[in-house]
Symmetry: C2
Subunit: 349 residues, 2 copies
């Protein structure tokens, strides 16, 4: 099995997701600036994986700080965190991971520079390990929602490649399959970055899960034909009212699911819930390079000079979401209450 | 200005739409079998343009028939029509054009072989010429629905490239622009064949019409942001109740338009209306080669061996269609009545 991201020999190793499925290339990062660039350029992507990468990037940067005392160290450490925070704006897991790394530094005021460096590395590795456990727990909860012989539509990649491993939305699918349920998956290709065709199709095929690739604009047709029973997607940030930012096109799928009376589930760790944001309109939406839309690798698929919009995410309002699956249980409406309870008090299921 | 299709020096000349926008290549066809193949392979596409190509292909094939008498000619002529009818199943304009060519042969029983060949060529050229006039008339009617400063979303290419010239949906946009209205167009890229990014963006840019390219899955986002006022699409076949087969993804756009209370207009010539078909479920939907989904030119964008669905069209039910714009006026609900009246009696506006 492939590894999405790993801390190895004091470096960060990541599979280059831009090259999948045609090439399986692992890149070794020894400079935190290159990790930041890898996040920006989507070598690694998916909210939980971005969180892990940011934590490891910070640990890497911290270990290279050349400071005699703690004060000098903290000054440089803050700079590193700031650079990491500027990579991508939407996935809140990035900021969550950065905050967690900062907290570790703060909560160990007596450690010397060298010891602190080690603690930060341990914390990044812990975030990585926890993420896999979280996904498996999410899978156990979520799979209770999936009937035998269900046909599941998923958008983008919320799989092992979007996390430290196992996946959020695809983790739920994996758990259902592990329970012996017969599952059929439809994967939207997810333009422009093609996470569905390049990543989801690839990782589900590797697991021998029955997967059919469609273009994004075929989802409505498949639903109308009665071929889809359930939709499950991941999330990049969930507001306190349940409004969910996820890969561009998720909102359209949610509207189609409503039209066809198909349940629409979001699977995401607690770290994706941002109680500081009241509703989805406040979630910053990243607009990416237009070349993602106009080119496939170096092939132009649009006339030169055409105006392009490329929002990388959209917001699905809470009314279109049937339930939100987390590692602490399944949140139902009203999400204001259930999400708050889940974040603050732990397990509610 | 480019020409989509033309009868020239006893051959059929077509712009190769597979190569746009990077190359503007005109192919010269002297064998009707190559015209049939060009329709199948989508060198030419768009329901009205397919109709013109079929008529010209038949005229070309007929002119090559080596028969001493009319009886021998008709036998070969029927074979040609049959081959042409087997190219693509959904666009009814193909069958309409073939029927029209057959009728010309039937209605001129006294003509000799050579004269009949000439009459068939004249008929094909007439269909071509009429199509442009029809589009302009459709534009005049349709533009009355478009307010100044409207932002229009269109899907696929229902433009000059989908017709003999001017276009159906894009004809309405062109007419509105010619009337001095300030129009902003959003073009869905329209996977998998990319008619939106490759063709619509290209031809609207050539006309200096303000066009913004988006991926199919961004339509919902743009509507939610209030950036779309109107949707206009073409059609490949309209059932007698108004259910409309059009490029895959049109149905999803129609559902999104309903969700956002945005009018959804279909622009198509009378020849696209199939009164023999009661409702959309009876329209045959072509399923095309999976390579259209898994590859962009020769670049694989999905893992080898992945299962793929590739329906080329979907059906938008009449309840989601605000009005149907034809060269004889604007049909409103109930479409059963308005379409029948339009087809049988002519102009109703």
């Amino acid at each position: 099995m492939f590894k999405t991201i790993e801390w190895k020999n004091n470096s960060v190793v990541m599979i280059d997701q831009r090259l999948l499925p045609s090439q399986e290339v692992y890149r070794i990062y020894t400079d935190f600036l290159d990790v930041a660039e890898a996040i920006r350029k989507m070598v690694v992507r998916g909210a939980p994986a971005i969180g892990v990468a940011a934590a490891m990037g910070i640990a890497l940067g911290a270990s290279d700080i050349n400071a005699k005392d703690r004060r000098g160290f903290v000054k440089e450490f803050k700079k590193i965190c700031k650079i990491m925070a500027a990579t991508r704006p939407t996935a809140v897991n990035l900021f969550w991971a950065i905050e967690r790394m900062k907290r570790v530094a703060k909560e160990n005021p007596k450690l010397g520079v060298d010891e602190l460096k080690q603690v930060l590395i341990q914390e990044a590795k812990k975030i990585h390990k926890e993420d896999i456990e979280i996904n498996k727990q999410m899978g156990r909860y979520g799979s209770s929602l999936i009937k035998n012989k269900a046909a599941i539509l998923t958008h983008c990649n919320a799989g092992a490649l979007a996390t430290a491993g196992y996946g959020t939305a695809l983790g739920v699918i994996r758990a259902a399959v592990e329970q012996g349920k017969k599952i059929k998956v439809f994967a939207d290709e997810t333009r422009p970055f093609l996470q569905g065709s390049r990543l989801t199709a690839w990782e589900l095929m590797k697991d021998g899960i029955d997967t059919t690739l469609i273009t994004d604009n075929m989802a409505g047709y498949m639903m109308k034909k009665g071929l889809i029973d359930v939709v499950i997607v991941g999330a990049d940030r969930i507001a306190s009212n349940g409004d969910t930012a996820n890969k561009i096109g998720s909102y359209s799928v949610a509207v189609l699911a409503k039209e066809h009376k198909i349940p629409f589930y979001v699977a995401a760790p607690i770290s994706t819930i941002d109680l500081n944001i009241k509703h989805g309109d406040k979630i910053p939406i990243e607009e990416r390079d237009t070349k993602e839309v106009t080119h496939i690798k170096d092939i132009a698929i649009a006339p030169a000079g055409i105006k392009v919009r490329n929002p990388a995410f959209d917001v699905t309002p809470n009314r279109l979401i049937t339930a939100i699956i987390t590692e602490r249980g399944i949140a139902r409406k009203s999400f204001e209450k259930s999400l708050k309870r889940m974040v603050k008090a732990g397990n509610i299921s």
